[in-house]
Symmetry: C2
Subunit: 344 residues, 2 copies
């Protein structure tokens, strides 16, 4: 009875393929997995392949993983899913992974639920061969990965003394934005950041002050604002800064397009024209930048490349045991749109 049962109801196993082709399980395995440690006669190969096709055989990943101690799966931990930068990274990383015959699983690192799916089941349970980490707000994750010596690569994040990270250059890009504005004649620059205790905020602030110093200017505490809660807050923060400052800014760098947009709304609400009376630039591009009149100038980073390289570097490390490096992608581009004016 098991014979009928197997053919009809259940999913075929390798044994079924072997039986159908009239060969041993081992031979079927050799044919299916391709990696020929042994030569197989062409005619036998075809018999097995035909049988597999007819039965609709698909190898069982779980069994394979158990035996091979390899899952050919990668995980990526992301803090938020609807951030366009992460979206791009995920997409390109998945594409690169698939090209090398790996799968990529995405797992959200929920703030209220740090005990993520990926972490609990996959990493601890050896469900993935490696992990891309795009958030370090929970340092416990990286610690644990290191402790269990699971290959992992920090993506768009870096950590003091940590081997294996790949980043874009927020610092230099921000510094160059500042230089760009100064070259256009701006002298009073404001900076409205996202949460300053987070990685991106810190790097951008660092770049901001670095850029100013390169131009022989000194940062003015009064012109530096922090915005934790998005658009509406950005408008308020801007107004507060503008009104309070002795000499108001002629240009503002916003951490991202949401903040830039909010700031523009704030500026307009107190009668300021953009870009004539206030130049605005976003330190991170997104589709939102184009949804304004004028469109918002913004810095574009090679996030697609970042995701691709990250996946490939991780896979290399898994397959060749190669050490992971710390890579910094220096490329970026200031997309000049209409929100910045020249004072000259």
């Amino acid at each position: 009875m098991p014979e009928q049962f197997r053919k009809g109801v259940l999913v075929p196993r390798l044994d079924d393929v072997a039986a159908a082709a009239g060969v041993a399980r081992s031979t079927a395995s050799r044919v299916m997995s391709g990696e020929a440690t042994l030569t197989i006669r062409e005619e036998t190969r075809q018999r097995v392949l035909d049988a597999a096709a007819k039965l609709g055989y698909r190898p069982d990943t779980r069994a394979r993983a158990l035996r091979l101690k390899r899952t050919y799966a990668l995980g990526i931990v992301v803090p938020e899913i609807d951030n366009p930068a992460f979206g791009t990274i995920i997409r390109s990383a998945q594409k690169a992974a698939i090209e090398r015959r790996y799968s990529l699983f995405i797992s959200l690192a929920d703030k209220d639920q740090p005990d993520t799916a990926l972490y609990r089941r996959l990493v601890e349970g050896k469900g993935v061969d490696g992990v891309l980490v795009t958030t370090i707000s929970d340092p416990g994750l990286v610690d644990e990965l290191r402790r269990r010596s699971i290959k992992h690569l920090l993506v768009n994040r870096e950590l003091e003394g940590h081997q294996g990270s790949i980043i874009v250059d927020y610092v230099e890009a921000t510094a160059q934005v500042v230089e760009h504005l100064v070259m256009l004649g701006h002298r009073r620059l404001a900076f409205i950041s996202g949460p300053l205790h987070q990685y991106a905020g810190q790097k951008r602030l660092e770049g901001f002050t670095k850029g100013l110093r390169r131009c022989g200017l000194v940062p003015d505490e009064q012109l530096i604002g922090e915005c934790n809660y998005g658009w509406a807050e950005a408008a308020e923060v801007f107004k507060r800064i503008y009104v309070a400052s002795a000499a108001p800014p002629s240009a503002v760098c916003a951490a991202n397009t949401t903040i830039a947009s909010g700031m523009i709304a704030g500026a307009r609400s107190i009668g300021l024209e953009v870009p004539d009376e206030l130049s605005v630039i976003s330190l991170l591009d997104s589709p939102l930048a184009l949804m304004h009149v004028p469109a918002i100038s913004a810095v574009q980073f090679p996030f697609e490349e970042l995701g691709r390289l990250a996946a490939n570097e991780l896979i290399d490390a898994i397959e060749n045991g190669s050490e992971m490096e710390n890579v910094r992608l220096e490329r970026f581009r200031i997309a000049e749109r209409g929100s910045v004016s020249s004072l000259r």
Copy 2:
């Protein structure tokens, strides 16, 4: 030597725990997996638990899955990751899954790469116990799931004759938006949809004409536009419609906030005031709606509930073999903000 080797370098297995506790593997298994088919003396239990804790033992998911024929993992296939509705669905589904001790893996159904990770490795290779499907643009996926009799649930999508889907009511919501506008005195309504060949576009168009008919009005082909490529196109489409129509619309329904935003820009570019000369409402809310002055009125759907219920229904079906139902969440809310005016 293997003894030392195991303790030092490698990850502990159940056998190591058993050895450390001085019991048999089977006993250790019974303690660790909790499900007591057999009673275990409290003292023995503690010994095993202590040993496991000391060794840092974590069960190997792959081996477990192989033996149990269950992975306690769910997959979700999403068409795009940076759409706020999908973001909400994913987040709440993941949360619900974790609460029931399942993992949720997200996989992007890339258009140019329909051969997704989830599909290839997980579904075919029995890597997940069930799948949430949020896109039907590739009907092959659903076909294949059905053919392999893998539990799956359509989320925010439905298919003729398909058992197992959970949706929000785009049709009724859109119809009620139309009624709402008509009650405010609007008679000439325009509708700018996203791609009309896709699910959401079809449902909204259906609701739009249904709403009009309920109010005794007839849809005017001239006032129906399609926008496939986002903001800038929406502005153009709107202008074209407005200029071309004999009697111009006093209100417009946009499929989503990006289109609504683009339309508003288009309207302003031809000198129209919003909401005084043109009312605008989005049939789908997103943070972008609040990034306007005036803020854009929009329809809010219970996507969080959708994701939660979807995960739970799928898990129920997996665990109890219960049939999956077709559920429609009727709740929705029209968030009135400033972009709609009354003509009375």
